[in-house]
């Protein structure tokens, strides 16, 4: 079943069509979320929120963009919203720690080292994600989509709704900043 027909049937609340749609695109959505969030559990939750949003507002899909582009856009936006809400939560948690008797800081746990992965590899990933999080949002997204999702500049420009040249600028500046941030991470640790 092609995407247009699937979308039409999902708008009619056809469960079978929605299931087919989810099975077709779940890997894409989960991986995009995971590349931004770097956390398996969070990416599961956020990806499900993405599909929920699609189910509820499928009629808002105008059809002028490809389904994949639309999915990337929603996944990126939802992941960013999640990160922002986590930052606020962290701020309040830190306030809580400051004013409470319990001085142990409550840090949200990042992804656990996977079995078989060396400590060095884990450290490399940690440094990379530390640096990516420190980048301005747009640079982070542009680099993630280009490097993790292997998307071309024109595809990224459609997803982010910016010009192709702007994508190039974001990626170049982002990478330069990324090198400095990774270096800073290792110098401090």
């Amino acid at each position: 079943m092609d995407d247009k027909l699937l979308i039409k049937k999902i708008a009619e609340k056809d469960e079978k069509a929605f299931q087919l749609f989810v099975e077709k695109y779940q890997d894409l959505v989960i991986n995009v979320c995971n590349n931004i969030l770097n956390n398996y559990d969070d990416s599961m939750d956020v990806s499900q929120e993405v599909f929920l949003k699609i189910y509820n507002s499928i009629d808002q899909f105008r059809g002028d963009a490809k389904v994949k582009t639309w999915l990337y856009r929603i996944s990126v936006n939802n992941s960013l919203n999640y990160l922002r809400s986590r930052k606020k939560q962290k701020w309040f948690t830190n306030l809580d720690v400051l004013f409470s008797d319990n001085k142990d800081s409550i840090e949200p746990v990042d992804s656990e080292p996977k079995p078989g992965e060396s400590i060095e590899l884990e450290e490399n990933k940690k440094a990379l994600y530390y640096a990516l999080r420190k980048l301005p949002e747009k640079q982070n997204i542009a680099i993630s989509l280009h490097n993790f999702e292997d998307l071309a500049y024109n595809e990224i420009s459609e997803i982010m709704n910016i010009s192709v040249s702007e994508v190039g600028v974001l990626i170049n500046r982002g990478k330069k900043k990324l090198h400095k941030l990774i270096l800073k991470y290792y110098e401090n640790n």
């Binding site: 469960e15 299931q19 989810v22 099975e23 779940q26 890997d27 989960i30 991986n31 995971n34 590349n35 398996y40 990416s43 599961m44 499900q48 599909f51 929920l52 189910y55 509820n56 060095e120 590899l121 450290e123 490399n124 990933k125 440094a127 990379l128 640096a131 680099i143 490097n147 993790f148 999702e149 292997d150 990478k175 330069k176 990324l178 090198h179 400095k180 990774i182 270096l183 991470y185 290792y186 110098e187």
Partner: protein, 155 residues
């Protein structure tokens, strides 16, 4: 080249945005300095992770969990709708009871045998007489020259 200068130039070295002479200097320093060589290895290792990856494996119960979330959402929506419906019913009942109470009050007021204010003729002697009899019952009434004159006129 010392380590401090190497660390300062390393980002440019990684960007490939460095002139050939400087690059040679950095390469030479890398060969001779273990600490900087290790640092370079770590930074390169991190940058190497910036590549396409599909880390998340298949999720067999993914759709089942999603379907449950949709059902929960529908239940929550109808629960909220019920509450809103009850609230609006309550508001309607309160408003209706106020309107009814006001209406009853007006009915009671209009059905009494008292003289309507519009029927009173303020120029008649009977009015003036009863006004004079009850003037002291009026909280805001004051004895004044006009009232004395009025009393005199009637008597």
């Amino acid at each position: 080249m010392n380590c401090k200068e190497f660390k300062k130039k390393l980002p440019l070295y990684l960007d490939g945005d460095i002139n050939p002479d400087k690059k040679t200097e950095l390469d030479t320093h890398l060969e001779s300095c273990i600490e900087c060589s290790l640092l370079y290895k770590k930074v390169s290792g991190s940058l190497f992770q910036l590549q396409p990856k599909k880390e998340v494996s298949e999720q067999p119960f993914y759709y089942t969990r999603l379907k449950q979330k949709i059902l929960n959402q529908v239940e929550k929506k109808s629960f909220i709708d019920n509450i809103l419906y009850k609230k609006s019913l309550q508001l309607t009942a309160y408003f209706a009871s106020i309107v009814i109470a006001v209406f009853i009050g007006i009915l009671i007021g209009s059905s009494s045998d008292k003289v309507q204010y519009s029927d009173i003729n303020y120029d008649s002697k009977d009015y003036l007489k009863s006004y004079m009899e009850y003037q002291y019952l009026n909280d805001f009434e004051r004895e004044n020259k006009e009232n004395i004159l009025l009393t005199d006129t009637i008597n």
